[in-house]
Symmetry: C2
Subunit: 351 residues, 2 copies
Amino acid sequence: MRGVTLTDVALRAGVSQPTASRVLNGSARRPSPAVVEAVRRAADELGYISNAQAQALARSQTGLVGLVVHDIADPYFSSIAAGVQAEAYQRDRQVLLATTLRSTEQEIRAVNAFIGHRTDAIVLVGSRLNTDDGLRDQERLTGLLDRYRGLGGRVAVIGQPLPGTHTIAPDNRAGAAALAKALTAEADAPRQFVVLAGPPKLATAVDRTAGFLRELRREGIKPLAVVPGEFTRDGGYEAAQQVVASLNPQRRWGACIFAVNDVMALGAIAALREAGLRTPRDVQVAGFDDIPTLRDHEPGLTTVALPLQEMGRRAIEMALASDTGEQSVTRVSGRVIMRESTNPTANRAEP
Amino acid sequence: MRGVTLTDVALRAGVSQPTASRVLNGSARRPSPAVVEAVRRAADELGYISNAQAQALARSQTGLVGLVVHDIADPYFSSIAAGVQAEAYQRDRQVLLATTLRSTEQEIRAVNAFIGHRTDAIVLVGSRLNTDDGLRDQERLTGLLDRYRGLGGRVAVIGQPLPGTHTIAPDNRAGAAALAKALTAEADAPRQFVVLAGPPKLATAVDRTAGFLRELRREGIKPLAVVPGEFTRDGGYEAAQQVVASLNPQRRWGACIFAVNDVMALGAIAALREAGLRTPRDVQVAGFDDIPTLRDHEPGLTTVALPLQEMGRRAIEMALASDTGEQSVTRVSGRVIMRESTNPTANRAEP
DNA sequence: CCTAACGTGGAATTCGCATTCCCAATCGGC
DNA sequence: GCCGATTGGGAATGCGAATTCCACGTTAGG
């Protein structure tokens, strides 16, 4: 039941195991052409595939990269994962994937497993938590990652900076502010805003909310409501339902809802539609992230575009960079994209 | 730079390495409580994390599962991946992810890498190819997988059966036929159909097309056109553009387009919209898969629902099942879901 | 009271491969 | 044509943990 080993190949080629090793798995010393040829053929005939585990043990590096996401079915994460995949493929690394379903507990389990597998690097995607519980878990996580780095592991984070790691940090605050600015800039801009703020303990959600509100304040606008909720499609849906219920749904308010991410915005639009409110005619909606899903969504959703794939790619790049730069923060800024969902004149004509 | 090893722990606990091993990494023999306690504490104090690589080498099984998908950013695959993740998590396995971007070449590379890493099982998601090239590569792939199975590896496939593997096979033909039946059943059903057939070399696409056409034939309907294209959103978009260009776009045809998967259908709807044709008022559209994206799409897309997550889950289940059943085929049938996109009376009233 | 069976922890070996010596053969230089 | 410098391949060792086998101490049975 055991596979073809390097020794088998060496035997067949009539050389020693170290020589076979030198031929097949890149070494500084290249044996003579004749030997190389013999070993190559033997390996071929036997269908030798080197045992990465054994190699890892001997070299003490595995060629593995760990990727931790909240939910791989969420387009935000799967886009980033695609970027990670692409870059890992380029660099001939394998990607170990873990899904946390937004539980720090599971995140820690995942990191533990990755350390156990001695991944060369770990990429953590997703926001850190701000609660006390969150902070405690956070410390556990940080401790774990510290030890990991002590062992030579590299860590990259997409989201909020984590001490001692390389971070790709979207400028959530500025992006949200820019969005608010764009929304309030136009002539017949709405003066009423609702923010679907997501979980109060999620840093990303908090930052986006803060950025948006800051800009509103600057414009002298007080938001109608700031509604917390889950960071998911259903979270957006429920929050929007709540908004509709509480805020005089009779009349078309011509207000604008900012959901702190796109999937929430999509959920919100669905809830509004079910309540008989159309977007943007009755209510305008904007999101954040520019997930690929938006491409075919009707109405087109105004949002702040983040280069998701690119972020994934960069994370791997930084994590695998040779310099030992202990820590770094790469800010990536969002680009406001105005689409139909916040165009007040879009479907005004229709009944 | 090396981590805490089992020997370190043993030393600190004042026992031998095998004893520490017995305590920490499940063995049949449980040492005495006092020893267990001592070892546990030592491990804790040192922050011991067992080296999965070394364990794998010694036990000759890695706890890894390989997952090969075409494109993780595609909701079809990411949904399946979510199912795979969930089940793998349950069983305490780590998932190695590879993306092929629809190239069999890369698929083979991925499988090779997985075999190298001695994954306990490999799950292949995505349709096989039918071309000559495809068949040749296919043979290479089959050969590889055979050797893998010879080594004790388990293989599960989601899509078309591959010799010697466990297969989760959606009943594409029957699903598409059922869809056709449902579409032609209604009173004022369309009599004109166009099929966006996807790549002629992709088995899934071919089967769905065949099933659909079969049912049309049974109804005595000859399709207006069967248009090949890529199996992607853009493929659907382009194919639809082509259809619009060739098929008298002046009048609203009241025809129905069946795209062999959902993302193509979404692309098609976008193309139609850009051409000034509305769905379903002017053209009806149906897809296949029921990807989660559809939940918030307007108009709701008629489709054949596949239990994507469940399929992923089942694939892991079968791949990791203890029985040595050499090969098996689990058929999963699609459920036709009629939504607004094929409801001819939906937005007829509007201008 | 002696011996056999059992329970427990340790020494040694193994997994597959990389790597560090080490030795022999070859080469070039004078 | 002799000697030191290369070169090329092999023997031995180590990576970290599982496992087999052994030795020892106990306890029970006769």
